[in-house]
Amino acid sequence: MRGMLVGAMLLAGLVAFPIWAQAADEPFLITLATRAVILALAAVGLNLALGQGGLVSLGHAAFFGIGGYAMGILASHAQSYAPLMEWPFVIEGTRSMPVIWLVAVLASALAALGIGALSLRTTGVYFIMITLAFGQMLYYFAISWTAYGGEDGLSIYVRNGFPGLNTLVPIEFYGLCLVILLVVLAFHAALIRSPFGLALNAARQSPERVRTVGIDTRRLQLAAFVLSGAITGLAGALFADLNRFVSPSMLSWQMSGEIMIFVILGGAGRLFGPVAGAIMFVALEHLLGGVSDYWHVFLGILLLLVVLFVRGGVIGLLAGARR
């Protein structure tokens, strides 16, 4: 119950803060809030695999980056009027966000299906190392793939469009991202209560039990992994659109680690945990980054303290024990 209250306060803040920033004429703060919302979306994706499914994926940057490159590739082709493909049928680039999102979601879901099917042959520490390795594989692939910028990445000149909105106006783009986050949170909340959610949660706690009642846990976890990758991929497309830039760094292992930090700082398995974690991270980055160039030291110490002494993250601290 208190978890819901904390969540409601977070959402109120996410609505109120940019309105205040708009009134105070601080467009930079709106961009900062947009960053937090998009990163929160990426973390909500990971939370589905990690918090609900117990799958410690240290390679979610792969899906984040695939979403980003889906944006970069489609938009750069639209920008240069060169089709992506001419044979056997023509595929043109696009500047339309809905189309880009669809491609981002499908591409990252497909990647998650492949990576998940291989990684889920193993469990525990093998799973962690393998997801990390596959993430790194895509990172090096992007670096060596010179057709789309290689190490330097891809820039686009103008943010992509959404029907009826001027996405170049910070607050309008922010609103769009927030609505997506809310829709995905609602999806996540429904999922937790669904038959699938019940089985997935039980499979995290006692896989043997779930198999014993006749449910194939690996398929269950693979489905969660694919959904999770798709959500993180969508966040990647938005993130690239926010920066109008995509580079291999979106695929790096540090990115995977950061997405995981959002989930854990906020509280794994809790609906609003990743949102709280991402907001905290962006706020810390902004505040401490302004004080010291070496703010990662503080971040590291904070994370260490949370892991060693605060079980259940910030939401856990505020809302008490889980459920």
Partner: protein
Amino acid sequence: MPPALIAEQILNGLQFGVMLFLMAAGLTLIFGVMGLINLAHGSLYMVGAFAAAAVAGATGSFLLALIAAMTAAALAGALMEMVVIRRLYARDHLDQVLATFALILVFSEGTRWLFGSFPLHLDIPAALKGPVTLPGGIEYPRYRLALIGIGLTVAGGLGLLITRTRLGIRIRAGENDREMIAALGVDISRLYTIVFALGAGLAGLAGALVGAIQSVQVGMGEPVLILAFVVIVIGGIGSIRGALVGAILVGLTDTLGGIFLPEFFRLFLDPATAANLGASLASMAIYILMAAVLIRRPTGLFGARA
């Protein structure tokens, strides 16, 4: 392609492989004995490289630099173990990942703070500079040959340590049954610190040795760490022999893939496309190798059956 070039590339792959082994051996020992996944192992590699660069800069002696690298990394490892790591043995892998990720942040930024962002330079010792002519007329850098020698010597020494010494017996006992060796009166917490420091020292040695042919900089450890993970996954967690075989497989695949894949594609594609496609695939070759091993044997080549 001339045979001399192929031989040179095989040696390069071997050299890369034995350096990976130094990293992977520590990781796999630590996992085997303590059940801990340590992301900060790459930081110890970096600590070794920086210590070596600093000592070599001050004294001019490469040997002293290597000793300093191992000592500094082993001390940093022991400290890390006593302050943070030992609180994590009873935790799940997620907590271990996060806490050791946090350690990376602290070590990386701390090193940047101490030494600045510019790469340091570590020179190859004069005695090992220049090429050496191998049987068959192959010219090969003397230093890289020395790396292969050092790596294989350490591998052999580690094998002897594990099979022949009292410490080794305790380590193997610890892998099999933790309660048992505690019951036998072995100071388990000291054993853990020693194993951790041993692994750290090996990582530090690797960092210093490789630092002389690449640059010594913050963030140098993590790419190697992830490759070492690939090595362990291929070889099987907990197995030193698996780590050696896996490391050499990965070293050879990576080096030879980079040379042969573009050549291969040139057979039926235009040179530019072939170079691009070859380079892209080569960058993924070791991960494809890993996936192939996983499909055949989910617990690695030498891993215990799940």
